[in-house]
Symmetry: C2
Subunit: 346 residues, 2 copies
């Protein structure tokens, strides 16, 4: 299955090294593609830095690079992924995502039409998420030196609350919630790459998560810590939370929502869905007495699959570790995966 | 001349796809390379976003991607370049650079030693510039899909002053100053790539510029606008300033400082030094009556070559354009360059 983009007939419709030179072609790229899409770069676009209006209080700052292959996949594309990735990282710290920057590394020969589609997707995703793309940069590398394009987004969010959402706040007896069914993003990419078809289509869950988080915070659910289940999947996030908090986490395998299609794809490829990347799914560790309220708020926010999947053990053995209880009642420790089962999925 | 890095004998000393997987290898990369260098990522390193302490007032936000080839060159490397690039963009807006993020796109097979050298260089440059590298991300692409590594930095600076440094403030009669001799960065890269040697070595001017800017602002020099002369060089910056301000700028060619070595290299390669990238050189447009004071402050700040190179014409003809007066007294308009004379220099 050839996933490369066909080269247009007219080389004028392609990215050339000149587009990275800072001269007339760079100017045209800015005026014809970036500015119409990211209107918010506004008249300041040609300045070296964007000035964020007066703010007070704490800010959150985050970055993510994106090298997903192929660039377009069911449920999203590299542009949507790059915006959601940084929006979600900010949201997980309890911040309201506000401003994004984007660095484009473009491959010579990239069809202008492909760039335009990615940029339009970024703009639409940013608009839907209520963030502004205010700063950018473009570099061009020779043919073969990037797979079409790589994107790096960085973002700033404003933090209204006093309490930080950090693993150190995780408390024995807390409940572990996942916002939705897992494994869809990674398996959608893999299925597309391998040319696999299933009865039900595999569609990435790629989506911004900040409104769901805001729903929890507005409802005054005592959220200890949030983490989106991207690279490494749900299991990796929980292993890290256990380590960083020094607490013992229990995960009940049978409670973890996985669609039939994802399960079938994972079986076919010999992949554990617990370690598959998601791009629109997060874990919340909340005080047990408010867990039902948290699930209600998540369902209200459009996450009908939100489920209780585990708990934080009382103090004692297993500090800093994650244990999985499988469907047969057998309990085993889970750890970080040592290699890379799904390269280039984000 | 082979500029690629030799592969180490032991594949354990190389970047593998697993280092981008978010699992154990990613964790090791963080613990063994990034954290020891960027100590400021501190205990928060594994969180999705870094929380910037309480601030008030305006902030500047900027980003730059870096694909320079080769990775190491006389006077710097891709790491130093990436830190200086974003520090300088922030400084040009009159901000005090404070926090940086960095996205690494690594090529499978990159020697760990090379990564370590780049990371150490970033850390040293950040320390010298008084900025903290507080957020990061790493992705790995297959062999051949990047030239060792690409870096994207983003940065936040705090803006203390009320007046924005924008082209709209440029006024007829203002003086145009350049902070130093031009063309060194681009020609140092080209000479290394082409294997050219000169009597005097060609060394990049790559350096942070924020202290020089702070010196001007502290001395209450009425600075209208600042711009670092990176891609496209001095001429491109001045063409853009003329356009954006709607003023007519005059540049006196004979006044522009260029070293003998840069001049010789440019002649040999048929390149106009006015369009060659710099990484430690900027233009300041200042009120004429304070131009001497500005030059004194720049020389105090370690820029002995700071020179008056032009002026803003009185209102009338030539609005929005840049004119060059050459050594023979001939005046001609300069425009943006149409292609790319020096690819991959930053």
């Amino acid at each position: 299955m050839d996933l490369s983009c066909p080269l247009p007939e007219d080389p004028a419709d392609c990215i050339t090294l000149g587009h990275g030179g800072g001269g007339r072609l760079s100017q045209r790229l800015l005026e014809e593609i970036f500015l119409p899409a990211f209107g918010t770069m506004g008249p300041e676009h040609a300045l070296d830095a964007f000035t964020v209006g007066a703010t007070s209080g704490k800010m959150a700052f985050s970055t993510d690079s994106h090298v997903v292959h192929p660039l377009f996949f069911p449920g999203g594309d590299i542009g949507k992924l790059a915006v959601c990735g940084t929006v979600n990282d900010l949201a997980m710290s309890g911040a309201r995502p506000r401003w994004l920057s984007v660095g484009f590394i473009l491959e010579e020969g990239l069809p202008m039409e492909t760039l335009r589609k990615v940029v339009d997707s970024m703009a639409a995703t940013a608009k839907a998420a209520g963030v502004s793309i205010v700063a950018g940069d473009t570099k061009v590398v020779e043919r073969g030196k990037a797979d079409g394009l790589y994107l790096t987004t960085a973002g700033i969010g404003t933090v209204a609350r006093e309490v930080e959402l950090v693993p150190g706040r995780i408390t024995p007896g807390d409940t572990v919630i996942v916002s939705g069914d897992i494994g869809r993003h990674g398996m959608a990419i893999m299925a597309q790459r391998e040319g696999l078809a299933f009865d039900a289509p595999l569609v990435s869950d790629c989506a911004p998560l900040h409104e769901a988080v805001q729903g929890l915070l507005d409802a005054r659910v005592p959220v200890r810590c949030l983490r989106d289940c991207t690279r490494g999947g749900l299991a990796t996030v929980l292993v890290e939370l256990a380590r960083q908090s020094g607490r013992c986490l229990h995960l009940e395998e049978a409670a973890v929502p996985v669609t039939e299609t994802v399960r079938a794809a994972c079986e076919l490829l010999g992949i554990d869905p617990l370690y598959v990347a998601n791009e629109g799914c997060f874990v919340a560790v909340v005080a047990n007495e408010m867990a039902s309220e948290a699930l209600d708020r998540l369902r209200d926010a459009g996450f009908p699959e939100a489920t209780r999947i585990g708990e934080v053990a009382s103090e004692g053995d297993g500090a800093g570790r994650l244990f999985l209880q499988n469907a047969f009642g057998i309990r085993r420790p889970l750890d970080l995966i040592s290699g890379e089962q799904l390269p280039r999925i984000c």
